[in-house]
Every structure is written in structure tokens, then in C-alpha cells.
């Protein structure tokens, strides 16, 4: 059982590292073209009906860190922060919900 537990922890850790690597490193290479919805909005003439989000001035807005000029660092760090916050919220929520053993 304890061996199973440790391999389980290893798996969780690997899964987390994979996500952090994608958000922190690979994200820089993502396509910057508009996504499907944005492209349709542009083609069908309703893109200009979009309004700025109320949090458009967030220091992490549009997956960058405010004040960081290096694009690779900015997007990578914002990704890592997002991964950390999602992990925190996710772990808290799902731990609260799980059946008590």
C-alpha cells in the first residue's frame, strides 16, 4: 500500500510538472491568431461589440505579467502563476467535496 501511495504521489507530481512546463515554457510558442469565436466575430462584423473586461487592468491580463517586457518571461510567468492558483483553488475545492475516508 505504501509503495502504491508513493507511486501515486509520483504520478500526481509528474502530471503537475507537465502542466507547469506547458504553461510556463511551451505557451510562448502558441499561435497568436484569433481563436474560432474571435475570428467568426471579426468575419461576421460583431467583434467591435466586445467590451473590455472589468478586470482588463489586472496585472495578469491577457496572459502577461504587468511590467515584464520580455515576452517569453511575461507569458511564461503568467502561466506558472495561473497553474499555481488553479492548483490551489482546485485542491481546496475537491478536498472539501470528497467523501471522508
Amino acid at each position: 500500500m505504501s509503495e502504491n501511495q508513493s507511486s501515486l504521489k509520483k504520478f500526481y507530481f509528474g502530471f503537475f510538472i507537465a502542466a507547469a512546463f506547458l504553461a510556463g515554457g511551451v505557451s510562448y510558442y502558441a499561435s497568436s491568431h484569433p481563436d474560432g469565436l474571435e475570428k467568426v466575430a471579426e468575419d461576421k462584423g460583431f467583434l467591435e461589440t466586445a467590451k473590455d473586461s472589468a478586470v482588463a487592468n489586472s496585472p495578469l491580463a491577457d496572459y502577461g505579467v504587468a511590467g515584464l517586457d520580455n515576452e517569453r518571461l511575461s507569458v511564461g510567468l503568467s502561466g506558472l502563476i495561473g497553474v499555481a492558483i488553479t492548483a490551489l483553488v482546485g485542491v481546496l475545492l475537491f478536498n472539501l467535496l470528497k467523501k471522508k475516508s
Binding site: 461576421k44 491577457d62 482546485g90
Partner: protein
């Protein structure tokens, strides 16, 4: 496919907000049956993984990109109710901190991505598993089919919202046709990412894949 503020009027956004709250309440109640000491961390990690992969826009056609929605992936990994909550966590973090998807549009986005995409994925996945050979190799393929179908259906849900409360002048039928066809292409990307991820996880820890665990339980019961 995150809807910004402004595309859909406030009354429609608020109505879908109510549907999103109702759907999330059901998921919160039912997810308890899917979550235990082993699966609760998996659900949290699934949210983290979806957040990360949603940053990776891939090109689909001239001047257009797409990214994983994650509904099918999450459904197969942690079950539909926990999956819905995982996607909602991602959408919440994105809307509140990254200004990705509007705040008044959050209900619209939860409806399309956490409820419709997950529901469609679940139904297609269960059906695909039924008609395919009962072995481990079928799971990633069933997951890919669910992913492929969930994306254009989810995009159609936006078209429905646009038909009810779109602020643009383009006819709803035109928007529906464009959303559906573009998102078939994005669905192919979704299917590939989902298949590769599910394959990788099922080959290392098949016991952590909800969609396969369910199958194994049924098979074992039949043997007895």
C-alpha cells in the same frame, strides 16, 4: 472560445448565469460520489492541466487558432460532475485574473464549456464505449470521439445565445454556420490532444482514469 463582455446582452447573460449556477449546484452535489482520496487530487490536477493546455493555441485555418476546451478530457479522467467543476474553476481563474472571457459573460461560458461540452462528452463517451470492444485501448478512442463532437456542439450553444441576445447585426443562422464549421476543425485538435493525454495516463495509471475504472468495475461484476 471564451466569450468577452458585450457580445451577448445583459438579460440573456444573466439568464444563462442562472442556468450556470443551477448546473454548478447539481455538480457540487453529485461530484461527492466521484471523489475520494485518490480522485480528488486528480480532479484538481485535471483543472491545472486544462488551464495550461488552454494557453496553447494551435493554428487551424488561415488566420484562425483554437485551443483545447477540455470538457471531454476532464469527463474521461474524473467523471462528468467533477469535470464540470474542474472546467468552471479554470474559467473562473481565467475571467477574474487573466481577463480571458468577460465577467458578465462568465455564466455564458460556464454554460457552454462546463455544462454543454461536458454533458455532450459524457453521453458520447458512454455510447462510444458501449459499441466498441471492451478493452483499455478503446478508451482513448472513445474519448477522442467525445472530444471531436463536444466542440462544435459547444460552439452551437454560443450561436443559440447569440440568437437570443446577440448585440451584433449578423443573422443568427450565419453565425451558427460559421461557428459550427470553424469548430469542427478545432474539434479535431481537441480530439488529438484528448486522445494523446488519455493514452499517456491510462498506460501509466489506468486506475486513475474514471472512464476506464467504471468499465472495469462492470466487467468484474459480470465475471462474478
Amino acid at each position: 472560445m471564451h466569450i468577452p463582455d458585450g457580445f451577448i446582452d445583459i438579460p440573456t447573460s444573466a439568464s444563462f448565469g442562472l442556468l450556470a449556477v443551477a448546473g454548478t449546484a447539481v455538480a457540487l452535489k453529485k461530484a461527492r460520489t466521484e471523489l475520494d482520496d485518490r480522485t480528488a487530487p486528480m480532479a484538481g490536477l485535471t483543472a491545472v492541466f486544462i488551464f495550461a493546455v488552454q494557453m496553447l493555441n494551435f493554428p487551424v485555418a488561415a488566420g484562425t487558432s483554437g485551443h483545447l476546451l477540455g470538457g471531454a478530457l476532464a469527463t474521461v479522467l474524473v467523471g462528468p460532475y467533477a469535470a464540470s467543476l474542474a472546467v468552471t474553476v479554470v474559467l473562473g481563474v481565467q475571467a477574474l485574473l487573466f481577463a480571458d472571457g468577460g465577467l458578465s459573460a462568465l455564466g455564458l461560458n460556464i454554460f457552454n464549456l462546463s455544462i454543454i461540452a461536458v454533458l455532450v462528452s459524457h453521453l458520447v463517451f458512454v455510447f462510444a464505449k458501449k459499441v466498441m470492444p471492451k478493452n483499455r485501448g478503446s478508451i482513448p478512442i472513445a474519448a477522442a470521439i467525445a472530444a471531436l463532437i463536444s466542440v462544435p456542439i459547444s460552439a452551437s450553444a454560443f450561436a443559440l445565445q447569440y440568437a437570443v441576445g446577440g448585440t451584433g447585426t449578423a443573422p443568427a443562422s450565419t453565425v451558427f454556420a460559421a461557428m459550427f464549421s470553424t469548430h469542427i476543425l478545432i474539434g479535431i485538435g481537441e480530439a488529438l490532444i484528448t486522445m494523446v493525454t488519455v493514452s499517456a495516463i491510462i498506460s501509466t495509471r489506468s486506475d486513475l482514469v474514471y472512464g476506464w475504472r467504471q468499465e472495469r468495475v462492470t466487467l468484474e461484476v459480470k465475471k462474478v
